[in-house]
Amino acid sequence: MSETTREPDARRLATVARDRVRFEEDALALSDQVYRVARHLVGSREEADDLVQETYARAFRSWRSFRPGTNLRAWLLRILTNLNIDRGRRIQRQPESRPLEEGDYFLYNKLEESGDRTIDEDRVVERLSQNDVVNALSEVPHDFRDVIVLVDIGDFTYADAAQILDIPIGTVMSRLHRGRRILKQAMAESAVGSES
């Protein structure tokens, strides 16, 4: 092989190596955010650790399939949610059928009923505890919880969540709508009780 043939090859390889290093650095810079979402999608810290490691191992192997200029965070989370399904940590299924959940204002109304009826909307959340929220979120069925985790906790747009979960954007919106209602209903029951 002549010098003139080897030189473009070397340049090409250097470019590929540089692109890969850049990709890996960009991906690692997002690891805190990926970990945060993983912690809410799986039950324990150990599971989240494993899942994030698997996600990065796969991402680094398939880095060429990432299109520069698109959303790397969403791309990584797509890998993570697929792995989560593949590993059988959850069974992908149709959303569980539940009785029609209460309305959007259920939590407000429930807290108002339980209090002195002079509800101060700026302070009423103080009647809720961190445990009320954590327990309530764990009661939300997976399909609804995944969307809440991505949009309300992970700050993903509807479109990103649709891409990550591989569902239509309309499904993201409807699951978010129902999921928030289910969450608030569970928070109300945790904070006030289910009687009355």
Partner: protein
């Protein structure tokens, strides 16, 4: 101009900033004049913020960060 039922339906999309300009203007006009809905809107905002804070998890362990960094392709 929307009524309280429509305002309730629009509340979450309003907070998600996905309403059209016209819908948002209608919702804001209603919230300006309706104490019932305005109270609930402020409450919903506080709840969202509270949920985010309540479920905040510990930062990623340093050990895991090191493990992820070790997955990188070795430089030739």
């Amino acid at each position: 101009m929307c009524n309280c039922d429509e305002c309730e339906q629009w509340m979450q999309p309003y907070m998600d900033r996905v309403l059209t300009d016209a819908e948002r203007a209608e919702a804001e006009e209603h919230l300006d004049r309706c104490t019932y809905c305005r109270k609930r809107y402020r409450f919903e905002e506080h709840v969202r913020q509270f949920v985010r804070q309540a479920v905040e998890v510990e930062p990623m362990p340093a050990e895991l960060k090191h493990k992820l960094a070790a997955l990188r392709t070795p430089l030739q």
